[in-house]
């Protein structure tokens, strides 16, 4: 296990180091699909320059990172490349450990039904899952371009990975701290609070029951730790900078979406076209999208918090206001964990074709729109829409497959109708 992983790490680092040295790095770091106004390296450099001149980095509407990030890079400026690589590598190694936990979890979950051995993953299959996850993350072209562009979403991904790891290990305090850190970076991971809580409760065999005091006690304890560390982080930022400038510049910027640079998300075109007096209403509608699905999903998946985490991360990547391909690669890295769902997936061919075609068409249509001037923004947005639809289809397909597998685990794999013929499951 260690040898292939080491090999993988070497390959991944070599690819990144080679790309850093070529002229492609500059080209990639300008791509709107790879960097957003929120996490572009160019803007971090700008913020650092302002900080060095004793000017608030948030003056001038260029810099939108959190104060912690700028101070982190303040000390690591010379080693920026190494930091980004480190972030990627750290992610993988963390994942590796977290997957061991996940395996055990899956194994336990699968022990219940006796009649469908086919559905249960063999330990040898499970053994390679962490390696596959690391491979999916490190060799994913999306991650590579994101890393080469020095997009800071690599750091966010690493923080979320740390959060998942500590949750899987059952350490409530660390989990709360990393969740607070992730939330502090980009608000949206807030929704991960629910699955983490569900998982921790499950580990301690505390049933989710509103009439039980132990449930309330533990929930309040977790929330207290989470909110407490969030408060500490925000206060720390205030003391570092000496002003509250960062609140509107970071969180206001994320929530009110003033920068309509095209990206792979759904916001830019819609808000560029809209009349101003509808803006607030639709802003709420679009932002609620990210948070809204938490409730129904948590009710449906309350027995399976790990899958819920995956669903939440995917939904955040699709519906957040400034998505980049780096966000995509985070949830795509989880796909090997669910490879036992593969036989129930229905649209995987269609989805992968569409994702592949869209990834190739993004730069082509961008060229036609911006450089050749012969196409226009509608062409580009059409591809953005298609890309998002494919992602939603992918996530819902996995959701369906998961539910279907659960159904088969309780009812047997080969369903028969009353008259003995083979039955089919229809999703209505």
């Amino acid at each position: 296990m260690a040898a292939p992983l080491a090999l993988l790490l070497i390959v991944a680092v070599t690819i990144r180091a080679a790309l850093f040295r070529t002229s492609l790095a500059n080209l990639i770091s300008e791509r709107v699909e790879v960097v957003s106004p929120l996490n572009a390296w160019k803007r971090v450099v700008e913020g650092l320059a302002l900080l060095d001149l004793d000017i608030s980095p948030y003056s001038g509407d260029v810099f939108h990172e959190t104060p912690m990030v700028i101070y982190l890079f303040h000390f690591l400026m010379d080693y920026a490349e190494i930091t980004f690589m480190g972030a990627g590598v750290k992610f993988s190694s963390l994942h590796l450990v977290s997957q061991f936990r996940k395996q055990k979890f899956a194994l336990e979950a699968d022990r219940i039904p006796m009649d469908c051995l086919e559905l249960i993953r063999s330990p040898t299959e499970m053994y390679y899952i962490p390696l596959k996850v690391a491979m999916f993350y490190l060799l994913n072209p999306f991650t590579i371009v994101s890393c080469v562009a020095k997009c800071t979403c690599g750091l966010n991904n690493a923080v979320i990975a740390l959060f998942i790891l500590s949750t899987m290990r059952g350490s409530a305090l660390l989990s709360a701290i990393f969740l607070a850190l992730a939330t502090y970076q980009s608000i949206y991971p807030l929704t991960l609070c629910v699955p983490a809580l569900l998982y921790l409760l499950q580990r301690l065999y505390i049933p989710v029951n509103v009439r039980r005091s132990s449930f309330w006690f533990y929930t309040l304890q977790y929330l207290f730790m989470f909110l407490g560390s969030l408060l500490v982080l925000i206060c720390l930022s205030f003391f570092l900078l000496g002003s509250w400038d960062f609140l509107p510049a970071v969180y206001g910027f994320i929530l009110s979406v003033p920068d309509l640079t095209p990206n792979i998300g759904l916001f830019w075109y819609f808000f560029a076209e809209m009349f101003d007096h509808f803006r607030l209403f639709f802003l709420c509608v679009f932002q609620i999208n990210v948070f809204f699905y938490t409730l129904p999903l948590s009710i449906k998946l309350k027995e399976h918090p790990v899958f819920l985490i995956f669903m939440q991360i995917a939904l955040i990547a699709i519906f957040k206001s400034y998505p980049t391909v780096g966000d995509l690669s985070l949830y795509m890295a989880f796909l090997p964990v669910w490879n036992h769902l593969y036989r129930f997936l229905r649209n995987i061919f269609l989805v992968s074709c569409v994702l592949l075609a869209c990834s190739a068409l993004f730069p082509v249509l961008w060229h036609l729109w911006i450089y050749a001037g012969s196409a226009n923004s509608n062409f580009y947005y059409a591809i953005t829409l298609l890309f998002s639809v494919a992602q939603i289809l992918l996530v819902s397909d996995y959701f369906y497959a998961f539910l279907r597998r659960e159904h088969h685990l309780t009812n047997g794999l080969y369903l028969k109708k009353k008259d003995g013929s083979e039955a089919t499951l229809v999703l209505k």
Binding site: C353, A360, S374
Partner: protein
Amino acid sequence: MGLLSDPNRRRALIGMLTRLNAPICMICYMAGVAWFMGLAFEPFTLRTYMSENAMGSTMVEERFPAGERALATGREFAAHKKKTGGMPVDWLVRTMQARGLEVYTQRFSRKLPFPDEDKERYMVKGTNVYGILRAPRAPRTEALVLSAPCSPGNENNQAVGILLGLAQYFRSQIYWAKDIIFLVNEHDLIGMQAWLEGYHHTNTTGMDWSPLQGRGGSIQAALSLELSSDVVTSLDLVLEGLNGQLPNLDLANLFYAFCQKIGVLCTTQGKLPRNDWDTTSGYSHAVQTMMLMVLKQASSRPWGDHGLFLRYHIEAASIKGVNSFRPYKTDATTVGRLLEGMYRKLNNLLERLHQSYFFYLMPSLTRFVSIGYYMPAFGLLALILLLRALDLWVQLSSPPTRTTEDGVEVVPASPGVLSILTPLVISHLTGVALYTLPVLSQELAVEHFPVSETEAVVLTAIAIYTAGLALPHNTHRLLAGEGTEQGWKVLKLVAVLYLAVLLGCTALINFSLGFILALTLVPLAAFITPHVPKTLSAVVMVILSPGLTLLFAVFFFQELQETPVTLQEGWMLYLSVISQGILDHALYGSLLYPLAALLVYPCWLLFWNILFWK
């Protein structure tokens, strides 16, 4: 969403698609070709119309009187050109200054990667001369360009004469709201490239040029004039620019509208618009015109000096004077009036030309086909690839279980990553060799073989191309063991999807190129398996390969231009086309050569690999 969720209906649909895959593919291919041929049929096309309001409803009067004087200036220019043996820079500067323009010059030099035998140049040094007529009516934020090339020999002297005549006449008018730049460029496109790069402060091709001393505003539109006789019978409009880019259709409409108004015969691709669309000859005339445009666009090279403007978001076209044996002639005054009218209309523009189409084909100067009409032809061809991919996917996801002697069912193992990755990597490395080696190894080749540099480059390219066929394509067997039935299916699935994405992207940027490639590569991709007869399929594959497609295109193009060539001449032409393609890439950044070498050829090699799968 029934199809996405109801398993029964899905199964029925997929079953039908896999069962009827071959016939559906055949129908799609024929429908695609038929659709494309139908594009030239007049009832299916739209009549051109002026979309831009600023140019449509306003009236202008053309009063340019001084055609004869312009021709005299042209003769003077010719004399000075002969005397200096190149661009008569001093004379041009003096003449332009005498006409009241702000005159500047720009020197440039460029060493070609290898000698250009068509135009006989290797170390190019030259000077561009341009004069700016400042707009009296408005701030100098926008500009128009009129250019004429200073060509060697007796070419294009009249064009320079008319340019100078128009400059003198325009200077005395008060209605100009945009700067007008009169540019005489040396060494045709190389000079134009230097000037445009200097004007926009970019340097994409590593050329040496001196910075421009004077500028106008942002250039809105440009016309390039080529005229080599005192009288013309017709004017030809050339639209195809670098990488198949076309100017806004309104520019063509403007040209046509003024030709109609002034009464000059006008053509595109050298073909007059005809009205007898319902006869066979009328239809074939339209097909010829459209095919010429398709072939020129697919060649990705600029077909006139205007071709490089398009890269900078400037609408531009070339106007060529044609003097044939027709009795009715047009004099220089009329040509001058036509240009005056066009510039006055362009002067009225309030914003860049954007109202009309950018993606179109023209079966005649009065008719056009827009992207919405021609894309289905390509879409039908691309659909074949998707259907084949679906078919392979279904075959792969339900592997046929074999029963061994013991009666135990054996599911064939899924192929290793190595058996797929090896052919992919080998093909692409061959592609990289095809892209880099010809120019790099020219000196070596010249030392060892009795050929010139240009021949060395072209012949090396052909040699590498041919050598790619003989590569050890089953190397994956050494690494991953025997190739399996599943193995080639996975490889073919990858190759088919690769081809689909590649052709789709190409067709979006340059429809003609994408369509021509699809026409030859799609049938090949659809039928190739290791089980078809080897020799016959290999011959078919070679015939349909990108290299031979180019050879056929060369013959076809000559046929359409009504200058058929013999096999020998055709072959020489083919060699020169290849060298021009490589030069276009090095000089102007045309994308055809890298696209063919780095992507299309490796993709074709993958199918070659599947044919010889063991």
